[in-house]
Amino acid sequence: MLDMAAKALETLLEWVVIALMVILTAVVIVAVLFRLAGDSFSWYDEVASILLAWITYYGAALAALKRKHIGFDGALLAIPMPQRRYAAYVAEAVTIGFFALLGWMGLEVILVLGDMGLTSLPWVPVWFTQSVIPIGAVLFIVCSLLSFPGYLALISRGVSMEAVEIEHEIAEAEKQFGLAPHDGAAQDKKRD
């Protein structure tokens, strides 16, 4: 059940991120070509920046689901079991606590901003563009909770997330070039 929910959310977030990337790429390319032709869009900077913020928070939720945020697990893996598991619980609580605060404050800011519009496109309300903060925060919390059991199982076995990530990158490259799988040594990072 939990796996199905995670898979569905992953698919949804992937398509949101891809759609935002396509739009941002199209906006940047068209704006550059027009600028080189001597005609600039007044809304380009503001709209592109907002798209970047949306990619940031929807992409961050997806990265939380896949446990891809930059971290350092060397010290955590050096802690003996079962204290390592308790430390992981504390770390997760801190992360979720911060995003809960961010979502709450994001909502307060939206309520204060009311019906204000963007500078270059006044008909676009600021609450719409800044809605990414509370929505992104809630999504981050949900994604963290969904991926936590898998993460806990890995670190309990002493597997470094960095090693998992590296093996994934290499497997993708081998698939792309049609090569035979390597034996792998990233497990050197694995500790008991």
Partner: protein, 426 residues
């Protein structure tokens, strides 16, 4: 006192494997709550949103996307064929090809781990088949991939420019000569090993073959032409060059007929996710940076160090040591975002050119990619080569020595990285 609190909170959370972005943001919140009160908590949402909307950072998703599209296309094989025809006749030819292709990959991807995974998967098995020892193959691949962050386009350089409020275009120009210098040095060390182990050459130099492989690889060269030519010539900004690079990468993929929906899907997703991971860090640094600035902490730190010495060469030496240590424990993006806002007032007060310093920082972090415990580039190469990290490190120490040599030259002979900047911009 404020600084000590922030430092303890940040280090403690990082040691618990809290994402570094969250550790930074929580430290910022702790600072706000302790010294400014709950009224300032609105800054959490405002800074985390404002930090993610920095226009100059739009270059990051564009360059990552261009690199991912190029990686997905058939560029790798064609580049290897061309570089092999160009320098494969030298003893240890495949090692030279490895370094030479890394130079080009640095142009198109900006991500050293992606370079190692893509290039290493193709070249390391070939090297082992031809009698190269696995640790040597891994060391060549790992050290040459670090050129990815020295030569433009470089995501750490974009982050540095934004964190220090300097010109990313000038920083790109400054990285060009040190990158070539580093590549020449790495080739020299590879040649030394090739003679010692009597490694084979690839094939005799043949002008016709060189011409044919060059023509075949020609569309791929459009990317460095657009990126470097556009920026060096002053026609486009870094962000605009990044947008055009995506367009060119897409055109090259279509030309080679190697790009399909699955590749594009993955390129877009990789680009989006890598961007998000870095941008959350940037946003969190804005939150903590806001508190630091209001508390005048970086300025106080700069004044304290300047009381001990105001000699800029001594300060550069201290900062080099500091960044080499930081590079052992933090990824380059995290190191820049975390440390630059704190040290930049000191750099400015000591009269160090921030562009020169940006290059020095980038070089330090390139070396940091080769030094455990956090050495994702080295670990990726070890994994592909199926070699133990310690065995690879024993060979890699010679290549790292070259990079350290380049760092020393660039630190104490600023003209090396800066003469092109002076020529184009000043």
């Amino acid at each position: 006192m404020e600084m000590l609190l922030l430092l303890v909170v940040t280090v403690l959370l990082i040691c618990l494997n809290v994402p570094i972005a969250v550790a930074l943001a929580v430290a910022g919140v702790a600072g706000i709550l302790t010294f400014e009160g709950t009224n300032q908590l609105f800054d959490v949402a405002l800074d985390m949103y404002g930090g993610a909307t920095k226009f100059s950072l739009i270059a990051i998703p564009m360059f990552v996307l261009a690199g991912a599209i190029m990686n997905a296309g058939g560029v790798t094989d064609r580049l290897i064929a061309f570089v092999s025809a160009l320098i494969g006749f030298v003893r240890g030819g495949l090692a030279m090809v490895n370094i030479g292709v890394s130079l080009f990959f640095a142009e198109i991807s900006g991500s050293a781990v992606a370079d190692v995974a893509a290039l290493g998967s193709v070249l390391i098995p070939q090297m082992k088949k031809k009698g190269y020892k696995a640790p040597f193959a891994a060391a060549v691949t790992s050290s040459s991939a670090s050129l990815a962050i020295i030569i433009p386009p470089s995501i750490p350089m974009i982050l540095y420019a934004t964190s220090s409020n300097t010109s990313v275009e000038q920083l790109f120009v400054a990285g060009f000569v040190p990158g070539l210098l580093g590549a020449a040095g790495l080739m020299g060390v590879a040649y030394m090993f090739a003679r010692r182990y009597n490694l084979p050459t690839e094939e005799a130099f043949n002008t016709r073959r060189l011409r044919e492989t060059f023509v075949d690889a020609l569309p791929a060269f459009s990317l460095p032409v657009i990126i470097l030519g556009g920026i060096f010539g002053g026609y486009v900004t870094a962000t605009e060059a990044a947008g055009l690079a995506v367009l060119a990468a897409f055109a090259v993929g279509l030309w080679y007929r190697d790009i399909d929906f699955r590749h594009l899907h993955r390129a877009m997703l990789d680009g989006g996710m890598q961007t998000a991971v870095v941008m959350v860090l940037v946003a969190a640094s804005v939150l903590m940076g806001g508190f630091l600035t209001r508390a005048q902490i970086p300025q106080d730190m700069a004044a304290a160090i300047l009381e001990i010495t105001d000699n800029k060469w001594v300060i550069l030496f201290i900062l080099n040591i500091f960044f080499l240590i930081v590079g052992c424990f933090l990824h380059s993006a995290a190191a820049i975002i975390l440390v630059i806002p704190i040290v930049i007032p000191l750099v400015n007060a000591a009269g160090i050119d921030p562009i020169h310093f940006g290059l020095v920082v980038t070089l330090n972090l390139a070396i940091g990619q080769q030094t455990p415990p956090v050495a994702s580039v080295l670990i990726t190469a070890c994994s592909v080569a199926n070699a133990r990290i310690w065995d690879v490190t024993k060979v890699n120490v010679y290549f790292v020595a070259v990079l350290l040599g380049v760092l020393l030259i660039c630190t104490y002979v600023p003209a090396v990285p800066m003469f092109l900047v002076e020529y184009f911009y000043r």
